[in-house]
Protein backbone atom coordinates (compact mmCIF):
# COMPACT_ATOMS: atom_id res chain seq x y z
CA UNK A 1 0.00 0.00 0.00
CA UNK A 2 1.17 3.50 -0.75
CA UNK A 3 1.55 6.48 1.46
CA UNK A 4 -1.67 8.26 2.37
CA UNK A 5 0.23 11.14 3.86
CA UNK A 6 3.87 11.91 3.43
CA UNK A 7 5.49 14.61 5.50
CA UNK A 8 9.15 15.33 4.89
CA UNK A 9 11.26 17.56 7.09
CA UNK A 10 8.57 20.16 7.55
CA UNK A 11 9.61 23.25 9.48
CA UNK A 12 7.57 26.30 10.35
CA UNK A 13 8.21 29.24 12.58
CA UNK A 14 5.93 32.02 13.73
CA UNK A 15 8.11 35.00 14.52
CA UNK A 16 10.77 33.63 16.84
CA UNK A 17 8.75 30.60 17.80
CA UNK A 18 9.71 27.35 16.12
CA UNK A 19 6.32 25.65 15.84
CA UNK A 20 7.61 22.77 13.73
CA UNK A 21 11.27 21.86 13.74
CA UNK A 22 11.64 19.36 10.93
CA UNK A 23 8.85 16.84 11.19
CA UNK A 24 8.85 13.74 9.02
CA UNK A 25 6.05 11.19 9.03
CA UNK A 26 4.80 8.57 6.61
CA UNK A 27 1.26 7.42 7.13
CA UNK A 28 0.11 4.44 5.11
CA UNK A 29 -3.23 4.07 3.41
CA UNK A 30 -5.85 2.64 5.70
CA UNK A 31 -4.06 3.50 8.92
CA UNK A 32 -5.76 4.90 11.99
CA UNK A 33 -3.01 7.22 13.12
CA UNK A 34 -2.77 9.19 16.33
CA UNK A 35 -0.98 12.51 16.68
CA UNK A 36 -0.44 13.29 20.33
CA UNK A 37 1.36 15.97 22.23
CA UNK A 38 0.85 18.66 24.85
CA UNK A 39 -0.71 22.04 24.11
CA UNK A 40 1.45 23.98 21.70
CA UNK A 41 3.36 20.94 20.50
CA UNK A 42 2.59 21.78 16.89
CA UNK A 43 -0.16 19.28 16.07
CA UNK A 44 -2.57 21.80 14.63
CA UNK A 45 0.22 23.57 12.78
CA UNK A 46 1.24 20.29 11.17
CA UNK A 47 -2.33 19.55 10.17
CA UNK A 48 -2.69 23.07 8.81
CA UNK A 49 0.40 22.59 6.68
CA UNK A 50 -1.15 19.44 5.29
CA UNK A 51 -4.39 21.27 4.58
CA UNK A 52 -2.68 24.23 2.95
CA UNK A 53 -3.81 26.64 5.66
CA UNK A 54 -0.25 27.20 6.79
CA UNK A 55 2.68 27.39 4.44
CA UNK A 56 5.74 25.63 5.79
CA UNK A 57 9.11 27.37 5.68
CA UNK A 58 10.63 24.22 4.28
CA UNK A 59 9.83 20.61 3.68
CA UNK A 60 7.29 18.83 1.56
CA UNK A 61 3.89 17.35 2.21
CA UNK A 62 1.70 15.22 0.03
CA UNK A 63 -1.64 13.49 0.27
CA UNK A 64 -1.88 10.22 -1.67
CA UNK A 65 0.96 11.41 -3.84
CA UNK A 66 -0.52 14.85 -4.54
CA UNK A 67 1.83 17.60 -3.44
CA UNK A 68 0.07 20.01 -1.09
CA UNK A 69 1.56 23.07 -2.81
CA UNK A 70 2.13 22.12 -6.44
CA UNK A 71 -0.97 19.98 -6.86
CA UNK A 72 -3.13 21.64 -4.26
CA UNK A 73 -6.46 20.95 -5.94
CA UNK A 74 -5.95 17.21 -5.97
CA UNK A 75 -4.47 17.25 -2.47
CA UNK A 76 -7.39 19.16 -1.01
CA UNK A 77 -9.95 16.98 -2.71
CA UNK A 78 -8.35 13.94 -1.10
CA UNK A 79 -8.33 15.46 2.36
CA UNK A 80 -11.11 16.13 4.85
CA UNK A 81 -10.17 18.22 7.87
CA UNK A 82 -12.14 18.78 11.05
CA UNK A 83 -10.65 21.98 12.46
CA UNK A 84 -9.91 22.26 16.15
CA UNK A 85 -11.62 25.62 16.60
CA UNK A 86 -15.38 25.57 16.84
CA UNK A 87 -16.23 27.63 13.78
CA UNK A 88 -19.45 28.00 11.87
CA UNK A 89 -21.15 30.26 9.38
CA UNK A 90 -24.03 31.91 11.22
CA UNK A 91 -26.00 32.66 8.05
CA UNK A 92 -26.97 29.11 7.20
CA UNK A 93 -28.84 26.06 8.42
CA UNK A 94 -27.11 22.72 8.90
CA UNK A 95 -28.29 21.36 5.56
CA UNK A 96 -27.42 24.57 3.71
CA UNK A 97 -23.97 24.47 5.29
CA UNK A 98 -23.40 20.93 4.08
CA UNK A 99 -24.78 21.59 0.59
CA UNK A 100 -22.55 24.62 0.22
CA UNK A 101 -19.54 22.69 1.46
CA UNK A 102 -20.32 19.96 -1.10
CA UNK A 103 -20.45 22.59 -3.82
CA UNK A 104 -17.03 23.92 -2.84
CA UNK A 105 -15.72 20.44 -3.56
CA UNK A 106 -17.44 20.39 -6.92
CA UNK A 107 -20.32 18.16 -5.87
CA UNK A 108 -23.95 18.75 -6.72
CA UNK A 109 -26.90 16.60 -5.68
CA UNK A 110 -25.02 15.27 -2.69
CA UNK A 111 -28.13 14.93 -0.53
CA UNK A 112 -28.06 11.15 -0.19
CA UNK A 113 -24.63 11.19 1.35
CA UNK A 114 -25.48 14.31 3.38
CA UNK A 115 -28.49 12.48 4.82
CA UNK A 116 -26.34 9.52 5.70
CA UNK A 117 -23.77 11.70 7.48
CA UNK A 118 -26.53 13.53 9.33
CA UNK A 119 -28.03 10.23 10.48
CA UNK A 120 -24.69 8.87 11.62
CA UNK A 121 -23.90 12.02 13.56
CA UNK A 122 -27.38 12.15 15.04
CA UNK A 123 -28.11 15.48 13.39
CA UNK A 124 -31.11 14.56 11.24
CA UNK A 125 -33.56 16.41 13.45
CA UNK A 126 -31.37 19.52 13.28
CA UNK A 127 -30.99 19.62 9.51
CA UNK A 128 -33.17 22.71 9.13
CA UNK A 129 -31.84 24.53 12.19
CA UNK A 130 -29.71 27.63 11.82
CA UNK A 131 -26.11 27.05 12.92
CA UNK A 132 -26.39 29.79 15.52
CA UNK A 133 -29.06 27.86 17.37
CA UNK A 134 -27.05 24.69 17.82
CA UNK A 135 -25.34 23.75 21.04
CA UNK A 136 -21.55 23.62 21.09
CA UNK A 137 -21.42 19.85 20.77
CA UNK A 138 -23.81 19.91 17.84
CA UNK A 139 -21.73 22.55 16.08
CA UNK A 140 -18.77 20.26 16.54
CA UNK A 141 -20.72 17.45 14.87
CA UNK A 142 -21.52 19.70 11.93
CA UNK A 143 -17.81 20.40 11.61
CA UNK A 144 -17.21 16.68 11.37
CA UNK A 145 -19.99 16.40 8.80
CA UNK A 146 -18.50 19.25 6.75
CA UNK A 147 -15.18 17.47 6.59
CA UNK A 148 -16.85 14.36 5.22
CA UNK A 149 -19.13 15.77 2.50
CA UNK A 150 -16.73 14.85 -0.28
CA UNK A 151 -15.94 11.36 1.08
CA UNK A 152 -12.25 12.17 1.45
CA UNK A 153 -9.94 9.14 1.45
CA UNK A 154 -7.84 10.84 4.13
CA UNK A 155 -9.67 12.22 7.15
CA UNK A 156 -7.96 14.44 9.70
CA UNK A 157 -9.70 15.07 12.99
CA UNK A 158 -8.17 17.75 15.21
CA UNK A 159 -9.64 17.09 18.64
CA UNK A 160 -13.08 16.18 17.32
CA UNK A 161 -14.42 15.07 20.68
CA UNK A 162 -13.67 18.16 22.74
CA UNK A 163 -16.99 19.19 24.24
CA UNK A 164 -18.95 16.29 22.78
CA UNK A 165 -21.14 14.17 25.02
CA UNK A 166 -20.38 10.53 25.79
CA UNK A 167 -23.11 9.10 23.64
CA UNK A 168 -22.06 10.98 20.55
CA UNK A 169 -18.44 10.25 21.19
CA UNK A 170 -19.28 6.56 20.96
CA UNK A 171 -21.37 7.19 17.85
CA UNK A 172 -18.68 9.32 16.26
CA UNK A 173 -16.01 6.71 16.84
CA UNK A 174 -18.19 3.95 15.46
CA UNK A 175 -18.76 6.05 12.36
CA UNK A 176 -15.10 6.92 11.96
CA UNK A 177 -14.05 3.34 12.57
CA UNK A 178 -16.49 2.22 9.91
CA UNK A 179 -14.99 4.71 7.48
CA UNK A 180 -11.56 3.44 8.44
CA UNK A 181 -12.62 -0.16 7.79
CA UNK A 182 -13.96 0.91 4.42
CA UNK A 183 -10.48 2.12 3.55
CA UNK A 184 -10.34 5.74 4.67
CA UNK A 185 -7.12 6.75 6.35
CA UNK A 186 -7.78 8.51 9.64
CA UNK A 187 -5.47 10.88 11.47
CA UNK A 188 -6.57 11.91 14.90
CA UNK A 189 -5.35 14.31 17.51
CA UNK A 190 -6.84 14.15 20.93
CA UNK A 191 -5.99 14.82 24.54
CA UNK A 192 -8.10 11.84 25.61
CA UNK A 193 -5.37 9.26 25.65
CA UNK A 194 -7.63 6.33 26.29
CA UNK A 195 -9.36 7.24 23.02
CA UNK A 196 -6.09 7.18 21.14
CA UNK A 197 -5.09 3.94 22.82
CA UNK A 198 -8.34 2.27 21.84
CA UNK A 199 -8.51 3.56 18.28
CA UNK A 200 -5.09 4.22 16.86
CA UNK A 201 -2.91 1.55 15.36
CA UNK A 202 0.09 3.83 15.35
CA UNK A 203 0.95 6.95 17.24
CA UNK A 204 3.34 9.85 16.85
CA UNK A 205 4.07 12.04 19.83
CA UNK A 206 5.04 15.61 19.19
CA UNK A 207 6.83 17.92 21.54
CA UNK A 208 8.00 21.42 20.76
CA UNK A 209 7.66 20.82 17.07
CA UNK A 210 9.55 17.54 16.98
CA UNK A 211 8.50 13.93 16.78
CA UNK A 212 9.68 12.41 20.05
CA UNK A 213 8.03 9.03 19.68
CA UNK A 214 6.66 7.13 16.74
CA UNK A 215 5.56 3.54 16.81
CA UNK A 216 2.60 1.21 16.85
CA UNK A 217 0.45 1.71 19.88
CA UNK A 218 1.17 -1.76 21.20
CA UNK A 219 4.91 -1.33 20.79
CA UNK A 220 4.79 1.97 22.59
CA UNK A 221 2.90 0.41 25.44
CA UNK A 222 5.19 -2.58 25.55
CA UNK A 223 8.43 -0.67 25.26
CA UNK A 224 7.41 1.73 27.90
CA UNK A 225 6.07 -1.07 29.92
CA UNK A 226 5.77 -0.07 33.52
CA UNK A 227 4.31 -3.10 35.16
CA UNK A 228 3.82 -2.55 38.83
CA UNK A 229 2.81 -4.58 41.79
CA UNK A 230 0.71 -2.83 44.37
CA UNK A 231 0.07 -4.34 47.77
CA UNK A 232 -1.90 -3.15 50.72
CA UNK A 233 -0.81 -4.83 53.94
CA UNK A 234 -3.23 -5.89 56.63
CA UNK A 235 -3.34 -3.37 59.44
CA UNK A 236 -0.35 -3.77 61.77
CA UNK A 237 1.86 -5.35 59.11
CA UNK A 238 5.08 -3.55 58.30
CA UNK A 239 7.09 -3.67 55.14
CA UNK A 240 10.32 -5.64 55.61
CA UNK A 241 13.44 -3.53 55.72
CA UNK A 242 14.85 -5.20 52.60
CA UNK A 243 11.96 -4.03 50.42
CA UNK A 244 11.72 -0.45 51.71
CA UNK A 245 14.17 0.83 49.15
CA UNK A 246 12.18 -0.12 46.11
CA UNK A 247 8.67 0.54 47.30
CA UNK A 248 6.81 3.79 46.87
CA UNK A 249 3.71 4.60 48.88
CA UNK A 250 0.59 4.48 46.77
CA UNK A 251 -3.12 4.37 47.51
CA UNK A 252 -2.56 3.55 51.16
CA UNK A 253 -0.31 0.67 50.14
CA UNK A 254 3.03 0.15 48.48
CA UNK A 255 3.92 0.03 44.85
CA UNK A 256 6.84 -1.86 43.35
CA UNK A 257 7.88 -1.01 39.82
CA UNK A 258 8.76 -4.09 37.87
CA UNK A 259 11.14 -4.64 35.01
CA UNK A 260 9.27 -7.85 34.26
CA UNK A 261 6.94 -10.41 35.76
CA UNK A 262 9.87 -12.49 37.00
CA UNK A 263 10.34 -9.92 39.75
CA UNK A 264 6.94 -10.62 41.25
CA UNK A 265 7.82 -13.89 42.89
CA UNK A 266 10.86 -12.69 44.94
CA UNK A 267 8.88 -9.75 46.30
CA UNK A 268 6.01 -11.94 47.38
CA UNK A 269 8.47 -14.40 48.94
CA UNK A 270 10.13 -11.64 50.95
CA UNK A 271 6.75 -10.45 52.19
CA UNK A 272 5.73 -13.96 53.16
CA UNK A 273 8.94 -14.45 55.09
CA UNK A 274 8.30 -11.26 57.01
CA UNK A 275 4.88 -12.60 57.90
CA UNK A 276 2.90 -9.96 56.07
CA UNK A 277 -0.65 -10.56 54.96
CA UNK A 278 -2.47 -8.53 52.29
CA UNK A 279 -5.77 -6.73 52.11
CA UNK A 280 -5.25 -6.11 48.43
CA UNK A 281 -2.80 -7.09 45.75
CA UNK A 282 -2.78 -5.82 42.18
CA UNK A 283 -0.67 -6.06 39.10
CA UNK A 284 -1.02 -3.04 36.86
CA UNK A 285 0.06 -2.40 33.28
CA UNK A 286 1.20 0.78 31.67
CA UNK A 287 -1.41 2.72 29.76
CA UNK A 288 -0.83 5.33 27.12
CA UNK A 289 -0.92 8.05 29.70
CA UNK A 290 2.18 6.64 31.37
CA UNK A 291 3.90 6.47 28.02
CA UNK A 292 2.86 10.02 27.26
CA UNK A 293 4.02 11.40 30.57
CA UNK A 294 7.25 9.46 30.31
CA UNK A 295 8.01 10.64 26.80
CA UNK A 296 7.15 14.23 27.56
CA UNK A 297 9.35 14.26 30.63
CA UNK A 298 12.13 13.16 28.37
CA UNK A 299 12.59 9.70 29.83
CA UNK A 300 12.93 8.52 26.29
CA UNK A 301 12.14 5.28 24.63
CA UNK A 302 15.56 3.73 24.77
CA UNK A 303 17.78 3.39 21.76
CA UNK A 304 15.74 5.38 19.26
CA UNK A 305 15.75 8.69 21.02
CA UNK A 306 18.97 10.56 21.34
CA UNK A 307 21.12 13.49 20.34
CA UNK A 308 18.29 15.73 21.25
CA UNK A 309 16.67 15.23 17.87
CA UNK A 310 14.10 12.88 19.15
CA UNK A 311 13.25 11.27 15.89
CA UNK A 312 12.46 7.65 16.45
CA UNK A 313 12.55 5.48 13.37
CA UNK A 314 9.27 3.74 12.76
CA UNK A 315 9.23 0.12 13.76
CA UNK A 316 7.10 -2.55 12.26
CA UNK A 317 5.25 0.26 10.65
CA UNK A 318 5.04 1.58 7.15
CA UNK A 319 6.49 -0.84 4.67
Amino acid sequence: MGSAVSIQRVAKHFGRLQALAGVSLEIAEGEFFGLLGPNGAGKTTLISCLAGLVRPDSGRLSVLGADVAADYRAARRLLGVVPQELVFDPFFSVRETLRIQSGYFGLRNNDDWIDEILANLDLTSKAGTNMRRLSGGMKRRVLVAQALVHKPPVIVLDEPTAGVDVELRQGLWQFVQRLNREGHTVILTTHYLEEAEALCGRIAMLKEGRVVALDTTSNLLARFSRHALTVRLTAGGALPEALRGRATPSDGGWQFRLAGYHEVEPILAALREAGCTFDDLRLTQADLEDVFVGVMQGEGLGEGVGEGHGEVPARGAVP
Binding site: R55, Y72, V87, F91, Y104
Partner: protein, 250 residues
Protein backbone atom coordinates in the same frame (compact mmCIF):
# COMPACT_ATOMS: atom_id res chain seq x y z
CA UNK B 1 -16.45 25.71 -11.86
CA UNK B 2 -19.01 24.34 -9.43
CA UNK B 3 -16.74 25.49 -6.65
CA UNK B 4 -16.76 29.03 -7.99
CA UNK B 5 -20.51 29.01 -8.53
CA UNK B 6 -21.16 27.74 -5.04
CA UNK B 7 -18.93 30.36 -3.48
CA UNK B 8 -20.67 33.06 -5.51
CA UNK B 9 -24.07 31.68 -4.53
CA UNK B 10 -23.04 31.63 -0.88
CA UNK B 11 -21.76 35.21 -1.05
CA UNK B 12 -25.00 36.40 -2.64
CA UNK B 13 -27.10 34.45 -0.15
CA UNK B 14 -25.08 35.95 2.66
CA UNK B 15 -26.11 39.53 1.90
CA UNK B 16 -29.54 38.60 0.56
CA UNK B 17 -30.51 36.91 3.83
CA UNK B 18 -29.96 40.22 5.58
CA UNK B 19 -31.23 42.24 2.65
CA UNK B 20 -32.98 44.73 4.84
CA UNK B 21 -29.63 45.88 6.13
CA UNK B 22 -27.58 45.36 3.00
CA UNK B 23 -29.94 46.53 0.27
CA UNK B 24 -32.96 48.34 1.67
CA UNK B 25 -31.08 50.50 4.18
CA UNK B 26 -28.63 52.02 1.69
CA UNK B 27 -31.51 52.76 -0.71
CA UNK B 28 -33.27 54.65 2.06
CA UNK B 29 -30.09 56.60 2.86
CA UNK B 30 -29.74 57.64 -0.78
CA UNK B 31 -33.37 58.75 -0.85
CA UNK B 32 -32.82 60.92 2.19
CA UNK B 33 -29.85 62.61 0.51
CA UNK B 34 -31.92 63.22 -2.56
CA UNK B 35 -34.91 64.62 -0.71
CA UNK B 36 -32.81 67.00 1.34
CA UNK B 37 -30.48 68.28 -1.36
CA UNK B 38 -33.10 68.54 -4.08
CA UNK B 39 -35.46 70.31 -1.70
CA UNK B 40 -32.79 72.87 -0.94
CA UNK B 41 -31.25 73.24 -4.37
CA UNK B 42 -33.51 72.00 -7.12
CA UNK B 43 -35.31 75.30 -7.68
CA UNK B 44 -32.12 77.41 -7.87
CA UNK B 45 -29.71 75.21 -9.75
CA UNK B 46 -29.05 73.57 -13.05
CA UNK B 47 -25.86 71.63 -13.67
CA UNK B 48 -24.61 71.13 -17.23
CA UNK B 49 -28.08 72.08 -18.34
CA UNK B 50 -29.73 69.43 -16.16
CA UNK B 51 -32.06 70.12 -13.24
CA UNK B 52 -30.22 69.59 -9.97
CA UNK B 53 -32.40 66.76 -8.66
CA UNK B 54 -31.99 64.85 -11.92
CA UNK B 55 -28.24 65.60 -11.93
CA UNK B 56 -27.95 64.29 -8.41
CA UNK B 57 -29.67 60.93 -8.96
CA UNK B 58 -26.96 59.17 -11.04
CA UNK B 59 -24.31 60.42 -8.61
CA UNK B 60 -26.20 59.02 -5.68
CA UNK B 61 -26.84 55.76 -7.50
CA UNK B 62 -23.16 55.34 -8.25
CA UNK B 63 -22.08 56.37 -4.78
CA UNK B 64 -24.42 53.83 -3.19
CA UNK B 65 -23.34 51.17 -5.66
CA UNK B 66 -19.65 51.75 -4.95
CA UNK B 67 -19.97 51.94 -1.19
CA UNK B 68 -22.03 48.77 -1.06
CA UNK B 69 -19.76 46.83 -3.37
CA UNK B 70 -16.89 47.75 -1.06
CA UNK B 71 -18.87 46.93 2.07
CA UNK B 72 -19.90 43.55 0.73
CA UNK B 73 -16.56 41.96 0.03
CA UNK B 74 -14.74 43.66 2.89
CA UNK B 75 -17.25 42.79 5.59
CA UNK B 76 -17.75 39.26 4.33
CA UNK B 77 -14.03 38.59 4.43
CA UNK B 78 -13.35 40.18 7.77
CA UNK B 79 -16.31 38.46 9.37
CA UNK B 80 -15.23 35.06 8.18
CA UNK B 81 -11.65 35.80 9.20
CA UNK B 82 -12.66 36.86 12.69
CA UNK B 83 -15.11 34.00 13.25
CA UNK B 84 -12.68 31.57 11.65
CA UNK B 85 -15.23 30.28 9.15
CA UNK B 86 -12.88 31.36 6.38
CA UNK B 87 -11.37 27.87 6.69
CA UNK B 88 -14.43 26.50 4.94
CA UNK B 89 -13.41 28.28 1.75
CA UNK B 90 -9.68 27.75 2.27
CA UNK B 91 -9.86 23.98 2.68
CA UNK B 92 -11.64 23.12 -0.60
CA UNK B 93 -9.94 22.98 -4.00
CA UNK B 94 -10.97 26.51 -4.99
CA UNK B 95 -8.29 28.45 -6.86
CA UNK B 96 -7.42 31.99 -5.90
CA UNK B 97 -8.78 33.21 -9.22
CA UNK B 98 -12.17 31.61 -8.55
CA UNK B 99 -12.04 33.03 -5.06
CA UNK B 100 -11.40 36.50 -6.45
CA UNK B 101 -14.19 36.41 -9.00
CA UNK B 102 -16.74 34.94 -6.60
CA UNK B 103 -16.24 37.79 -4.12
CA UNK B 104 -16.03 40.52 -6.76
CA UNK B 105 -19.08 39.34 -8.70
CA UNK B 106 -21.10 39.10 -5.49
CA UNK B 107 -19.99 42.62 -4.58
CA UNK B 108 -20.98 43.92 -8.02
CA UNK B 109 -24.36 42.23 -7.74
CA UNK B 110 -25.05 43.83 -4.38
CA UNK B 111 -23.91 47.17 -5.76
CA UNK B 112 -26.18 46.80 -8.79
CA UNK B 113 -29.14 45.83 -6.61
CA UNK B 114 -28.67 48.85 -4.39
CA UNK B 115 -28.11 51.06 -7.42
CA UNK B 116 -31.24 49.78 -9.14
CA UNK B 117 -33.13 50.25 -5.89
CA UNK B 118 -32.03 53.88 -5.71
CA UNK B 119 -33.10 54.48 -9.32
CA UNK B 120 -36.52 52.97 -8.66
CA UNK B 121 -36.99 54.83 -5.41
CA UNK B 122 -36.01 58.21 -6.80
CA UNK B 123 -37.70 58.00 -10.17
CA UNK B 124 -40.66 59.84 -8.64
CA UNK B 125 -38.57 62.78 -7.54
CA UNK B 126 -36.66 63.47 -10.68
CA UNK B 127 -37.30 62.58 -14.28
CA UNK B 128 -34.36 60.55 -15.62
CA UNK B 129 -33.27 59.94 -19.16
CA UNK B 130 -31.17 57.01 -20.31
CA UNK B 131 -29.30 58.43 -23.27
CA UNK B 132 -26.55 55.82 -23.54
CA UNK B 133 -27.50 52.71 -21.55
CA UNK B 134 -24.34 50.73 -22.37
CA UNK B 135 -22.19 53.41 -20.81
CA UNK B 136 -24.35 53.15 -17.71
CA UNK B 137 -23.86 49.39 -17.54
CA UNK B 138 -20.15 49.55 -18.26
CA UNK B 139 -19.42 52.11 -15.55
CA UNK B 140 -21.70 50.41 -13.04
CA UNK B 141 -20.06 47.03 -13.51
CA UNK B 142 -16.48 48.30 -13.63
CA UNK B 143 -17.00 50.67 -10.71
CA UNK B 144 -18.58 47.92 -8.63
CA UNK B 145 -15.75 45.61 -9.64
CA UNK B 146 -13.07 48.08 -8.56
CA UNK B 147 -14.63 48.70 -5.18
CA UNK B 148 -15.45 45.00 -4.75
CA UNK B 149 -11.82 44.10 -5.35
CA UNK B 150 -10.67 46.97 -3.17
CA UNK B 151 -12.98 45.68 -0.45
CA UNK B 152 -11.24 42.33 -0.69
CA UNK B 153 -7.88 43.99 -0.13
CA UNK B 154 -9.26 45.85 2.88
CA UNK B 155 -10.96 42.74 4.27
CA UNK B 156 -7.82 40.66 3.88
CA UNK B 157 -5.58 43.31 5.37
CA UNK B 158 -7.73 44.34 8.36
CA UNK B 159 -7.52 42.24 11.50
CA UNK B 160 -10.27 44.06 13.35
CA UNK B 161 -13.56 45.69 12.49
CA UNK B 162 -12.32 49.15 13.50
CA UNK B 163 -9.43 48.92 11.06
CA UNK B 164 -11.97 48.26 8.37
CA UNK B 165 -14.14 51.11 9.59
CA UNK B 166 -11.08 53.36 9.35
CA UNK B 167 -10.56 52.29 5.77
CA UNK B 168 -14.18 53.02 5.04
CA UNK B 169 -14.40 56.37 6.83
CA UNK B 170 -11.06 57.85 5.87
CA UNK B 171 -10.68 56.56 2.35
CA UNK B 172 -13.84 55.30 0.71
CA UNK B 173 -16.20 57.95 2.07
CA UNK B 174 -14.04 60.98 1.16
CA UNK B 175 -13.17 59.54 -2.24
CA UNK B 176 -16.82 58.97 -3.10
CA UNK B 177 -18.20 62.11 -1.49
CA UNK B 178 -15.58 64.37 -3.11
CA UNK B 179 -15.93 62.89 -6.55
CA UNK B 180 -18.64 65.07 -8.01
CA UNK B 181 -21.66 63.24 -6.67
CA UNK B 182 -23.16 66.49 -5.42
CA UNK B 183 -21.68 68.95 -7.87
CA UNK B 184 -19.99 69.32 -11.21
CA UNK B 185 -16.27 69.77 -10.65
CA UNK B 186 -16.37 72.71 -13.08
CA UNK B 187 -17.90 74.64 -10.22
CA UNK B 188 -14.77 74.06 -8.11
CA UNK B 189 -11.76 76.42 -7.88
CA UNK B 190 -8.88 75.40 -10.15
CA UNK B 191 -6.74 73.56 -7.62
CA UNK B 192 -9.61 71.39 -6.50
CA UNK B 193 -10.50 70.60 -10.06
CA UNK B 194 -6.95 69.30 -10.50
CA UNK B 195 -7.19 67.27 -7.28
CA UNK B 196 -10.52 65.82 -8.36
CA UNK B 197 -8.92 64.61 -11.55
CA UNK B 198 -6.66 62.38 -9.46
CA UNK B 199 -9.63 60.66 -7.91
CA UNK B 200 -10.65 57.58 -9.91
CA UNK B 201 -14.12 57.71 -8.40
CA UNK B 202 -14.64 61.04 -10.19
CA UNK B 203 -14.31 59.25 -13.55
CA UNK B 204 -16.68 56.48 -12.48
CA UNK B 205 -19.37 58.98 -11.60
CA UNK B 206 -18.75 61.31 -14.50
CA UNK B 207 -18.88 58.51 -17.04
CA UNK B 208 -21.89 56.96 -15.37
CA UNK B 209 -23.71 60.26 -15.49
CA UNK B 210 -22.87 60.63 -19.16
CA UNK B 211 -24.90 57.49 -19.79
CA UNK B 212 -27.97 59.22 -18.42
CA UNK B 213 -27.69 62.73 -19.85
CA UNK B 214 -25.17 62.54 -22.62
CA UNK B 215 -23.17 65.36 -21.03
CA UNK B 216 -20.15 65.08 -18.75
CA UNK B 217 -17.18 66.99 -17.35
CA UNK B 218 -14.63 64.91 -19.29
CA UNK B 219 -15.15 62.78 -22.39
CA UNK B 220 -16.65 59.39 -21.44
CA UNK B 221 -13.93 57.56 -23.39
CA UNK B 222 -11.32 59.10 -21.11
CA UNK B 223 -13.33 58.09 -18.06
CA UNK B 224 -13.74 54.56 -19.35
CA UNK B 225 -10.01 54.27 -19.96
CA UNK B 226 -9.20 55.49 -16.45
CA UNK B 227 -11.80 53.23 -14.87
CA UNK B 228 -10.77 50.17 -16.86
CA UNK B 229 -7.13 50.77 -16.00
CA UNK B 230 -8.01 51.18 -12.32
CA UNK B 231 -9.93 47.93 -12.42
CA UNK B 232 -6.97 46.10 -13.88
CA UNK B 233 -4.56 47.55 -11.33
CA UNK B 234 -6.76 46.84 -8.31
CA UNK B 235 -7.61 43.36 -9.58
CA UNK B 236 -3.99 42.49 -10.25
CA UNK B 237 -3.08 43.66 -6.75
CA UNK B 238 -5.87 41.63 -5.17
CA UNK B 239 -4.97 38.54 -7.17
CA UNK B 240 -1.33 38.89 -6.15
CA UNK B 241 -2.35 39.12 -2.49
CA UNK B 242 -4.58 36.07 -2.76
CA UNK B 243 -1.93 34.16 -4.58
CA UNK B 244 0.63 34.88 -1.90
CA UNK B 245 -1.80 33.80 0.79
CA UNK B 246 -1.26 37.10 2.59
CA UNK B 247 -3.07 37.01 5.96
CA UNK B 248 -5.20 34.10 4.81
CA UNK B 249 -2.76 31.24 4.61
CA UNK B 250 -0.02 31.76 7.17
Amino acid sequence: MIGFRTLLYKEVLRFWKVGFQTVAAPVLTAMLYLMIFSHVLDAQMRVNGVRYAAFLVPGLVMMSLLQNAFANSSSSLIQSKITGSVVFVLLPPISYVEFFFAYVVAAVLRGLMVGAGVVLATVWFAPLTFVAPWWIVAFAVLGGGILGAFGMIAGIWADKFDQLAGFQNFLIMPLTMLSGVFYSIHSLPGVWQQVSHLNPVFYMIDGFRFGFFGVSDVPPETSLAVVAASFLIVSATTLALLRSGYKLRY
